[in-house]
C-alpha cells in the first residue's frame, strides 16, 4: 500500500495558494475539517473559493476564515447562522453562489466520477434555472447541471489508514465522501489513524485512491449547533 501520511495539518495545506478552489466537508458543524481550517488560518492564504454545504458559524468552521477575510466566494446550499457572513455579503465583499443541496452533492460527485454534466429536476421554474439548458424527460422538465471540482478537498473522517482509506461516523459523513473524490489533492484528517489492514475492506466508505494526504488530528472540538435532548 501507498503511504499518504503527512506530519501535521500545516504540512498538509502548505501548497494551498491564494485564490485556490477548495471543497470543505461537513453539514452545519458536523463532520467539518477543523484541523485543516485551523492550519489555513495560521497560513493566512487569501482569495479562497470555498465549496461547502454551509459556511460555519461566526466563531467556528468556515466562519473563522470569513472573519479573517480569507474567503472570496462561497458555493453553498444554505448559509444561515452567520452574522459576519451576512455583513460581508450585503457589503459586496463576499460572492455567494447558492445551489440546491442535492444538486450540489450530485455536481461534486459528478466531478469525482468523470461525468461532466447531468440532468436534474431540482430548480426548474426557479431562479436557479436562469441561463441553464432545460429538457423534458418523461413529461418532466429538467436542468442540465455541470460537474464541480476543486484544487484541494479538505475532508474529515472518523478512522483512516495510512493508505488513505476512510470510515466516517454517523451523519458526519455527509459531503465528505464526494468531496474526497472531486479534489485534485484531497487532504483527509482523521480522529484515529491506523495501519493498512486494520479497517475492514468491506466497510470502507472512501477508498484510499481518492486521498493524497492524511493526518491524525488532535483534540477535536466537534461543536454542536443545536444541542437538543429528550424532554423528561
Amino acid at each position: 500500500m501507498i503511504n499518504k501520511v503527512v506530519a501535521s495539518p500545516d504540512e498538509a495545506v502548505k501548497d494551498i495558494q491564494d485564490n485556490a478552489i477548495l471543497m470543505l466537508g461537513g453539514f452545519g458543524l458536523c463532520g467539518i475539517p477543523e484541523q485543516s481550517i485551523a492550519a489555513l488560518l495560521r497560513k493566512g492564504v487569501n482569495g479562497l473559493t470555498c465549496i461547502s454545504n454551509n459556511a460555519g458559524v461566526d466563531d467556528f468552521g468556515i466562519g473563522l476564515m470569513l472573519k479573517t477575510r480569507q474567503v472570496k466566494k462561497m458555493i453553498s446550499s444554505y448559509v444561515g447562522e452567520n452574522a459576519e457572513f451576512e455583513r460581508q455579503l450585503l457589503s459586496g465583499e463576499l460572492e455567494v453562489d447558492l445551489i440546491p443541496q442535492g444538486t450540489l452533492a450530485e455536481r461534486i460527485r459528478a466531478g469525482g466520477a468523470g461525468i461532466p454534466a447531468f440532468f436534474t429536476p431540482a430548480g426548474y421554474g426557479t431562479e436557479v434555472a436562469e441561463g441553464k439548458e432545460v429538457r423534458e424527460f418523461n413529461g418532466k422538465m429538467h436542468l442540465l447541471e455541470s460537474w464541480l471540482k476543486a484544487d484541494f478537498a479538505l475532508v474529515k473522517a472518523w478512522k483512516g489508514d495510512t493508505s488513505g482509506n476512510l470510515i466516517f461516523k454517523g451523519t458526519a459523513r455527509n459531503f465528505n465522501p464526494m468531496m474526497a473524490m472531486a479534489g485534485k489533492i484531497t487532504i483527509a484528517e482523521v480522529e484515529e489513524l491506523v495501519e493498512p489492514g486494520e479497517l475492514d475492506p468491506n466497510a470502507i466508505h472512501t477508498p484510499g485512491i481518492y486521498v493524497q494526504r492524511i493526518f491524525q488530528g488532535e483534540s477535536y472540538e466537534k461543536r454542536i449547533e443545536q444541542r437538543t435532548t429528550k424532554i423528561k
Binding site: F27, Y78, G102, E106, Y124, T171, R173
Partner: protein
C-alpha cells in the same frame, strides 16, 4: 379560533400511512413525528444522511456526529442506516421517499410553492428544499393560512420567488385541510374546529372549491 402548531402537526399525522418513508422539513413538520400513532410503522429520512431518525438523545447520549437536517442532535433506531449527501438525494430525487412534509411561505392554486427567499431580506439559501419539491410525488405543506399581517398565503400565483412548480398535493393550515387539484384550485376538505367555511373563503386568495358539507377536523 383555529389550530395551533401542535394541532396542525396532529392533523398531518393522520395523513401518514403505515409502511412509508417520510421526509419532514424544519418547523411544524418536525413536530408531526410526535403524533404518528404507535401502530403505524414509518421511517423518517433526514437529508443530511440518516434513514430512521430516533428520538432526541438523553443528555449523556448526545453525539456531535449525529444530527438531523435542522442540526439538532438525534439518535438512531434499530434498523437505521447512514449514508452520504449524494446518496441521500439519490433517495429523494429517485422518488423513493413516499411523503414529504414542508413548511411554506406561499402556495399557489396550481401547487407552486415559495419557501426559500424573501426579496430584500438576507438570503440564507434553499438547502434541500428545491430538490425535495422537484422530486417528491406526495408533498403536504404545513403552514399558517395567513401571514402575520393577515395576508392569505394560499394564492392564485405565488408572489415570492418560487421553490418549485406544480408540486404541492395538500395543504394543512390552522384553518383548514385542502387538496390542491391537478387542474388547479384548493378543494376544501375539512374546517378547523370553530372555523366557518366563510372565514376560510375570506382567508383564501386563490380559487377555493367548496362542495357539499365541509366536516370539522377530528383531532385527538
Amino acid at each position: 379560533m383555529g389550530l395551533d402548531k401542535i394541532g396542525i402537526a396532529k392533523r398531518i399525522a393522520q395523513e401518514v400511512k403505515d409502511g412509508t418513508y417520510i421526509n419532514l422539513g424544519i418547523g411544524i413538520p418536525t413536530l408531526v413525528a410526535n403524533f404518528i400513532p404507535e401502530n403505524i410503522n414509518v421511517v423518517l429520512q433526514s437529508e443530511n444522511g440518516l434513514l430512521g431518525i430516533g428520538p432526541f438523545p438523553e443528555e449523556e447520549e448526545v453525539d456531535a456526529d449525529l444530527i438531523n437536517a435542522g442540526k439538532q442532535t438525534v439518535t438512531t433506531t434499530a434498523g437505521s442506516s447512514l449514508f452520504s449527501s449524494s446518496e441521500s438525494f439519490e433517495m429523494i430525487r429517485g422518488g423513493h421517499v413516499d411523503l414529504t412534509i414542508l413548511g411554506a411561505m406561499e402556495v399557489s392554486e396550481n401547487g407552486d410553492i415559495a419557501n426559500w427567499k424573501i426579496p430584500g431580506k438576507m438570503v440564507k439559501g434553499m438547502g434541500g428544499a428545491m430538490d425535495l419539491v422537484a422530486s417528491a410525488d406526495n408533498i403536504i405543506v404545513a403552514m399558517q393560512h395567513c401571514s402575520r399581517s393577515g395576508q392569505s398565503k394560499l394564492l392564485e400565483a405565488c408572489s415570492l420567488p418560487i421553490t418549485g412548480l406544480n408540486c404541492v398535493k395538500k395543504v394543512v393550515t390552522d384553518m383548514a385541510v385542502l387538496d390542491v387539484l391537478p387542474d388547479g384550485g384548493f378543494k376544501l376538505l375539512e374546517r378547523a374546529p370553530g372555523v366557518s367555511v366563510e372565514e376560510i373563503q375570506n382567508a383564501t386568495a386563490g380559487k377555493l372549491i367548496v362542495e357539499g358539507e365541509i366536516p370539522e377536523m377530528q383531532i385527538g
